[in-house]
């Protein structure tokens, strides 16, 4: 009896154990916010350098009332999703096509490598010059930054596909299309989805760069506008909302990944 009671005390109940981690995270966040609220003013840091948490909340409310915040969030979010979708589609299609054609891969790989190394965001001013002050420049920047990680991941997956399975499929007289859809495509899914996860976070960076350089809508514009008038609270709020968009997109991809790759065992942390 005594040993059972001791064991019950020593082992926390499952619901308690489940709550402990989020509670610790919340306490940590609360401590950071309290420090953020009180430490900068105590050190004499002006609010145009580091605004307090209360300044951020007040500014967020004002942005909602006066700066048409919802329209900016929707614009950035929708363009990020569209850019991500197009970049992912092009990246995946090009990855599969090059993976199926070693000759074309060898011909194009130096150029792909050069384009991958070139800082894509530096192209933004050129896109503005070519396409004007509309949605195209930021969309193209986003597509470009999303394109490469997915292309590289898919190409890598095509290279490392199980040759035995491919040979087996061929031995069963499968057509090249059947080999692709039955063997190569499924085996590339983990790499493709890993690329999509990277792409989802990069999409937010791409769209922000595009909005910082041109255009009058979006959270990137609010960063420029707020930064110009030393309204640092507006800049912080816009960055916070961009982070939320990035997390939402990453979460969506992770959710899809968990369902598509349900058959792959995962380590539980």
């Amino acid at each position: 009896m005594t040993s059972l009671a001791e064991a019950a005390v020593a082992t926390p109940r499952p619901w308690l154990r489940n709550l402990a981690l989020p509670a610790a995270s919340l306490v940590f966040a609360a401590l950071v916010l309290v420090a953020w609220e009180f430490v900068p003013p105590a050190l004499g840091v002006p609010k145009y350098i580091v605004p307090r948490v209360s300044d951020l909340l007040l500014e967020m409310a004002r942005m909602g009332r006066q700066e048409n915040l919802l329209a900016h969030v929707v614009s950035t979010g929708s363009m990020a999703v569209l850019g991500f979708a197009l970049g992912a589609l092009f990246g995946a299609v090009c990855g599969y096509l090059l993976g199926l054609s070693p000759l074309w891969e060898r011909v194009l790989s130096p150029y792909i490598l050069a384009l991958q190394i070139a800082p894509k965001v530096a192209f933004a001013p050129l896109f503005i010059m070519w396409f004007g002050y509309n949605a195209w420049p930021k969309l193209i920047v986003t597509v470009l930054v999303v394109f490469f990680p997915i292309l590289v991941n898919v190409l890598q997956a095509m290279h490392t596909a199980d040759r035995d399975q491919v040979n087996l499929a061929r031995a069963y007289s499968m057509s090249p299309a059947q080999v692709f859809w039955k063997v190569l495509f499924p085996s590339s899914m983990p790499s493709l989805l890993a690329g999509l996860r990277i792409g989802a976070t990069l999409a937010v960076i791409g769209i922000t760069v595009g909005e910082l350089l041109g255009g009058e809508v979006g959270l990137g514009y609010l960063i420029t506008f707020g930064e110009g008038q030393a309204n640092t609270a507006m800049v912080f709020n816009a960055i916070f909302l961009l982070t939320i968009i990035g997390i939402a997109m990453y979460g969506a991809v992770a959710w899809v990944e968990a369902r598509v790759l349900h058959y792959i065992p995962r380590v539980e942390h």
């Binding site: 002006p46 145009y48 004002r62 041109g214 009058e216 514009y221 930064e227 110009g228 008038q229 030393a230």
Partner: protein, 324 residues
């Protein structure tokens, strides 16, 4: 003995010059747009004619990203002095940036709205749905435009306000890509000379917007008053030169700024426009000075139209202590 006497005499005579040489103070001035723009002719002229040197200053010009950005950088002491327009300080001071204006370069606003005649804009309200260019969203011209729009019942979502940068202001008007811009006299001249007719809408008909101004941080004013006074004196001397003799001013300006080589006539025409539209004050002795009442009116206008959220005491926005 004569050698020693001559040496001592020479040293005594050279002492004031040596003192002046030692007293030269290096400082940085931040322009809100590229330094070669004719809007900054007085600054370049003061440099070329040695007016800054005469005040014991070695001035280095740098370029910021619009007037509001410049005021912020000056307030944060990232530059000794900077430029924007007279009302710029109220935009950033409201957010706690300790910057104020120390000189005003003229009586009338540097900006006005210019629309391509072909577009058929008859009043500022006709800008609805149009594409209007500004240098950047950090520039005071943008805030002035927001004020003008608000006074005409428009918000920025009623039209497309595009931050196109200084180089594109003339190019995109000439090509017809934008319908109107917040123009300065030099851009207007370039566009008209390229054969694009313009309709003008002065913004001081809407609110008492101002000319270019020089900014300094509270700390710089406290710690380096001689430097601020010397800069303002030299710059205002150059502005007076421009008013009195635009031809000579344009000639020396072109000699100082290689980008405009061979364009003496064009620069003289532009400078004359600046003199008539912006620099000239009545009385002439008012050049450089701020009018607290005018600033208060602009601040009230910006506040009423939600261009700024908080008002600061008008006396914190400027000082006339360094003028005259």
């Amino acid at each position: 003995m004569p050698v020693i006497r001559r040496t001592l005499l020479g040293t005594a005579l050279a002492l004031p010059a040596l003192h002046r040489a030692r007293a030269v103070e290096a400082m940085t001035y931040l322009f809100p747009a590229p330094s070669f723009l004719p809007a900054f002719m007085p600054h370049q002229l003061a440099q070329k004619r040695g007016y800054f040197t005469a005040e014991g200053l070695a001035v280095t010009f740098q370029t910021g990203r619009g007037g509001a950005d410049t005021a912020k950088q000056v307030g944060a002491n990232n530059a000794d002095l900077g430029g924007g327009v007279g009302e710029t300080t109220m935009i950033v001071r409201a957010n706690g940036v300790p910057v104020r204006a120390v000189a005003l370069l003229g009586a009338r606003p540097i900006f006005q709205v210019a629309a391509r005649k072909a577009v058929g804009v008859k009043s500022l309200a006709d800008l609805r749905g149009r594409k209007v260019g500004v240098i950047g969203y950090q520039d005071t011209g943008y805030y002035a435009l927001l004020g003008v729009l608000a006074a005409n019942g428009l918000t920025r979502s009623d039209l497309q306000v595009q931050a196109i940068g200084p180089a594109a202001m003339t190019q995109l008007m000439i090509s017809g890509t934008v319908d109107a811009i917040m123009t300065t006299p030099d851009w207007s001249d370039t566009i008209e000379q390229a054969g694009t007719a313009l309709d003008y809408f002065p913004i001081d008909a809407v609110f008492p917007a101002m000319a270019q101004a020089v900014f300094a941080s509270d700390e710089t004013i406290r710690r380096k008053p001689t430097m601020v006074r010397g800069f303002v004196k030299a710059l205002l001397r150059a502005v007076r030169d421009c008013i009195e003799d635009p031809a000579a001013g344009a000639r020396d300006y072109v000699a100082a700024v290689p980008q405009h080589a061979g364009k003496e006539a064009e620069m003289q025409r532009i400078l004359t426009r600046y003199v008539e539209d912006v620099y000239r004050t009545n009385p002439p002795a008012a050049l450089g000075r701020f009018d607290a009442e005018r600033l208060a009116k602009v601040q009230r206008f910006y506040l009423d139209n939600q261009i700024i959220q908080t008002a600061v005491p008008v006396t914190d926005l400027f000082t006339n202590d360094f003028v005259g």
